[in-house]
């Protein structure tokens, strides 16, 4: 048995912090008085932790989850490059079942945390749009793969840099992403061409928008189509975030400031 605990001892020696991912109340209390600073990373601060990083998406990929937590902690100056931390995460199912030793490095800043926390739109709105895009990517429209383009935030400017392709089905309506009916509506409307424009607070301003950004200096991977180009380019011209579901490869990508920030596979969620 001694050898086994040494194995764990090696992993947690000289760490500068302990990151608990979605701990239960009793689990958190056990480590509250630990000799290293404890950081809770969870969708909601249910344990009233002092240092807390909000996890907007339950990243199925543990690497993404840890990276997001570390990035959030760096952003809040809880840890800095060079620190070593132990992460207590659940790889199989909900309860934390493993400990991972991570060295915090500057290149871990991928902008995922920034995408949620520092976007113009509310983090909850971005999360809701992500969820719609992921679900749309998983199920498609009546089994057929679909593409979709959501421009979130800074809606006033986006509207001024785009034109309608047809009547706006959302005109004078008060529909917000996150309402249960919306998922169905967006799925139906995703058959239409053009972009969805969503305001900072999550109001669906318009569908059927043809975006007219200037595409100069947009840095997106080659091989992506017009939808990604349009979405990426509008984020350079405005403070919006673009969330794009690709029809050809089924991936969900997020753009901000003209750059691709995040690429996820809907099947992983």
């Amino acid at each position: 048995m001694a050898a086994l605990s040494e194995l764990l001892g090696d992993i947690v020696t000289d760490v500068d912090g302990l990151f608990l991912f979605t701990p239960s109340h009793s689990h958190y209390e056990r480590f509250e008085e630990a000799d290293v600073p404890t950081v809770v990373i969870a969708p909601e601060n249910t344990v009233d932790a002092e240092t807390f990083v909000e996890l907007p998406l339950q990243f199925q990929n543990v690497k993404d989850r840890i990276r997001f937590g570390v990035e959030g902690a760096m952003e809040q100056s809880i840890v800095e490059a060079g620190d070593t931390i132990a992460c207590n995460v659940g790889i199989f199912g909900g309860d934390p079942d493993s400990v991972v030793r991570v060295r915090v490095e500057e290149n871990m800043r991928s902008g995922i945390y920034d995408l949620f926390a520092n976007s113009r739109a509310d983090p909850g709105v971005i999360r809701d749009v992500f969820e719609v895009a992921i679900e749309l990517g998983k199920k498609g429209q009546k089994g057929e793969p679909v593409g979709a383009l959501f421009i979130v935030g800074d809606a006033g400017k986006v509207m001024n840099k785009s034109r309608p392709l047809s009547y706006n089905p959302f005109e004078k309506s008060h529909v917000y992403v996150g309402d249960p009916i919306v998922n169905v509506m967006l799925k139906e409307f995703s058959r239409l061409d053009g972009a969805f424009v969503i305001s900072d607070s999550g109001k669906i301003v318009s569908a059927y928008r043809y975006l007219e950004p200037s595409a100069e200096g947009v840095d997106i991977p080659k091989g992506l189509g017009a939808r990604h180009m349009a979405g990426g380019a509008i984020t350079r011209d405005t403070n919006a975030t673009a969330i794009v579901l690709s029809e050809s490869d089924g991936l969900v990508r997020a753009f901000k400031g003209g750059k691709m920030i995040l690429e996820i596979d809907p099947e992983d969620y």
Partner: protein, 270 residues
Amino acid sequence: MMGFASPLPLQSIGSLVERIVQTAGLRFLGVLAILALGLVLAYTAGSLVQRLLVSFGVPDSIEGTAFERTARDFDTSTVEILSWLTRYFVLGLALFAALSFVGIDYVDRFWGVVIAILPQLFIAILVLIVGIVVGDKVELLVAERFRGVKLPQVSILPALAKYTVFFLAALIALSQVGVAIVALVVLLGAYLFGLIVLSAVAFHDLLKSGAAGTYLLFIQPYSIGDEIVVGDVQGVVQEFDMFVTYVEAEDREYILPNARVFDEGIGRIR
């Protein structure tokens, strides 16, 4: 042996009844019948109340209130307490019916008063229990509503709501049993008056903006992306809700109360 034994007690019971009828008269039998009927009625009424409350989803909706939790501590529940209360009430009525049937002289002042007060007392207790449960529930709901607000002072609001409901319930209960409550009613009036006047003064601007916002949301004279002028503010509408409109100009974002949008009028730039 057993086969021969059974008719014997029956005979003796028959003779016993006969003897009782002879000695106590029909009146006694009537009393027994009334009491039995009362028991059955009380039991069914209680069960009916219990079933009605359960089918209306009362146990679920009062889950977690202090009264319910206390009741749980005593191994019972609010619904059960209410159903037993109904049973005792019906049983009490039956008892008095029986007493009057026997002709016990309830001209006697004491019993007269008791009978007169019994229904009121029942209703008063009912009102009190309902008041306590509703008060608890209101506290929970208000607390839930303000949970996102991390302000210690906010915790006074749920308690205030709870005690207002308690106070009202106590007032109704007391007036049921005929206790003089004029002073309490005056107190209530003063309290409500203060509450209404204070909130009218405090929320004056919000109410005004809310009224204007209702119109703006319904009619939508401008929508997100339009460039508008309100007074000396010019910019692109980014967002609008019940109370404010967010207008973004070149280098700054204005948050205009809807009342002001209404006061100054809107200029739409094409």
